[in-house]
């Protein structure tokens, strides 16, 4: 009798955990926000868009100094030039996008039901190049990153509004894939993204403090002082994956696009504030 009751309970366990795994994105996001706010009770929600500067006073001081003469300004200007440039047939990149310039960045990443996959801003720009019969830009090219810097700048102050439509099962599946990626340990060093940016958030790895994942996507592309250049979110993903000694996925691979989709959703409600400046 006692045994069969225990067996029944045990058999319920997988059902319960399974149910927890498919809890809706909005439940996930609320729990995510609550976690970071309880870890840093003195930090206002909106501040998390500033990444590590939200929680580190010293770094924040240095950052504000850097922002006096923004090191990403050149990229923004170059991006604007490329954006306005008229092509031989008179078309412009802007022609591919229906929205006003400031509304383009917030429209991505989005799930494209027709293609059955997540489309990011970088992919959308290259799609546009293709429809205009122009060669696509490599995803680490200065041209492409500059344009995303310009569009990020134009969208400053707009809220993150990542959409997962309830009637689009593919969108939820892509989100779930991104979530699984985020929480899975990988590489020889055996770290999940969440091991550092959730569980150990704010602690030091040698001299560097681990930034909160809430707000991770709002400020890209980002000027990195140590590299002396502006890098994309996917280049940062690649660096993190390499740091845990796993083989990085390609920039704009399905894995990284799904991860971006998940992380962007987690940052819903924060403001876009790219491009950013980091060590």
């Amino acid at each position: 009798m006692k045994n069969s009751a225990a067996m029944l309970l045990l058999s319920l366990v997988p059902m319960l955990t399974q149910q927890a795994a498919v809890a809706g994105p909005e439940d996930d996001r609320e729990a995510f926000v609550e976690y970071f706010q309880s870890r840093f009770p003195d930090v206002a929600f909106a501040e998390f868009a500033n990444g590590i500067y939200a929680i580190d006073e010293d770094a924040r001081g240095q950052w504000l100094d850097i922002e006096e003469f923004p090191p990403y300004e050149f990229a923004v200007e170059q991006g604007e030039t490329l954006w306005q440039e008229a092509l031989p047939d008179g078309a412009r990149l802007a022609d591919c996008f229906g929205q006003s310039t400031g509304d383009i960045r917030p429209a991505y990443p989005r799930f494209d039901a027709g293609r059955g996959e997540v489309v990011t801003l970088a992919v959308a720009i290259n799609d546009c190049r293709q429809t205009q019969k122009l060669p696509v830009w490599p995803y680490d090219s200065e041209e492409l990153i500059s344009i995303t810097a310009y569009l990020a700048y134009a969208a400053r102050g707009k809220p993150v509004v990542t959409q997962i439509h309830a009637d689009e099962p593919g969108a939820l599946a892509a989100y779930e894939e991104g979530k699984r990626f985020y929480y899975s340990k990988r590489g020889q060093l055996n770290f999940a993204c969440s091991d550092c940016h959730v569980t150990s958030v704010g602690l030091h790895v040698r001299a560097d403090r681990l930034s909160p994942s809430l707000g991770h996507t709002t400020h890209f592309p980002v000027y990195r002082s140590k590299l002396g250049t502006v890098i994309s979110l996917h280049q940062r993903f690649s660096g993190c994956v390499r740091d845990v000694r796993a083989k990085p996925f390609a920039l704009q691979s399905e894995e990284f696009r799904n991860l971006e989709y998940f992380l962007s959703y987690m940052s819903n409600g924060l403001e876009f504030n790219g491009p950013g400046a980091r060590k």
Binding site: L189, N190, D195, S200, L203, H204, V205, R206
Partner: protein
Amino acid sequence: MHGKNLKFFMPLCDFRRLAAGIAAMSVLALAAAHATTDDGIAAGKSLAMERSKGNCLACHSIEDGELPGTIGPPLVAMKLRFPERAALKQQICDATVRNVDSRMPPFCRHGILTEDEVELIVDYLYTL
């Protein structure tokens, strides 16, 4: 059952001698396996510090190590915290044995360090 077996074997050997002999052998074997030398401790220290090896400072503070991380506990009083050498070695080799959720890389299980390298690191850690 057991008693019967014991009685059967009893006349065949002197248990006290046997026990003493085994104890002596294992002491010798242990001494041979972990002959801690100054060179060994120095080698263990450099393995602990090297970024491509132990890289302990990434997460733990260690005596004179500069800019230590704060993710793991400071490496102090190691003999007190790990009286058993095997427990300390296991913690480095695969910390998930003791704590499933450990964020410490499983150094032996993932081939980041060899068991011999971990022995040297343990020698060094016991000086802290």
